[in-house]
């Protein structure tokens, strides 16, 4: 009887510790994904600035070269752009953000910023595109700097909160 209770307590503590570790890991992966996104948008900017590539081709060349978690997203945008189905760029972008970015660790507000960025991209001429890209890259860099500052403390907090919550629940239920 007592052994069963102890096994139950161990399960509760292990699972809540796991949840705490999962959240702290998610936060670290989010910073990694933001850095990856910044790199890809810088490549896009470089393509447009120096090679004068039109937006659909720049996006498909990034989709071909990149091999990480953003590959399905860029691949889907470039396929739909080449389909010429009559949808606006911002609709295609928004749909791709909502469907293809489920495997990344980006937060809701990051995806919202990405959708707003898509609304402004592809508008007017090359200078305007470059300005939009520069603005978004600056935004991403600010976000990365902010998150990295508090990352270590938050990771420690989530881990210890996970363990404590497990012990708390098992003590209440004993």
């Amino acid at each position: 009887m007592i052994a069963l209770k102890i096994i139950g307590c161990i399960f509760v503590i292990a699972s809540s510790t796991g949840i705490g570790f999962f959240f702290s890991n998610e936060m670290k992966c989010r910073i990694g994904d933001l850095k990856e996104l910044r790199k890809l948008i810088s490549l896009l900017r470089g393509d447009i600035r120096y090679a004068n590539t039109p937006l659909p081709e720049a996006i498909s060349s990034i989709a071909r070269r990149h091999n990480g978690s953003f590959e399905p997203f860029f691949a889907s945008v470039s396929t739909k752009l080449h389909d010429l189905s009559g949808l606006t760029f911002s609709d295609i972008w928004k749909e791709a953000v909502e469907k293809e970015l489920l495997n990344t660790s980006l937060a809701k507000k990051d995806k919202l910023h990405l959708i707003q960025f898509g609304d402004n991209l592809g508008y007017l001429d090359k200078d305007m595109q470059l300005n939009t890209l520069e603005l978004f890259i600056t935004q991403l860099e600010d976000e990365i700097a902010d998150s990295s500052k508090t990352a270590k403390e938050k990771a420690y907090l989530y881990n210890s909160l996970g363990i404590m919550a497990g012990i708390f629940i098992s003590i209440i239920m004993l």
Partner: protein, 66 residues
């Protein structure tokens, strides 16, 4: 009145104080306050039946003496 109640209250006290320290260190003061409040409410929830029993026992004791 078993020993487990005292142990449970002691463990909750220790946990709440550790949690308080960690939360204050990371700057979440309002969360620290809420956790101490929650710990207090939980311990009171465990203690109130014991206090009621105590009062009833004293009452019975005086009724018997009279």
């Amino acid at each position: 009145m078993d020993i487990y109640l005292i142990l449970k209250i002691a463990v909750v006290g220790i946990l709440v104080s550790i949690l308080n320290q960690i939360l204050k260190q990371t700057g979440r003061d309002e969360l620290a306050f809420l956790t101490s409040l929650a710990g207090l409410v939980l311990v009171l929830f465990w203690l109130i039946p014991q206090i009621t029993d105590l009062f009833i026992t004293i009452q019975e004791l005086f009724t018997m003496v009279n």
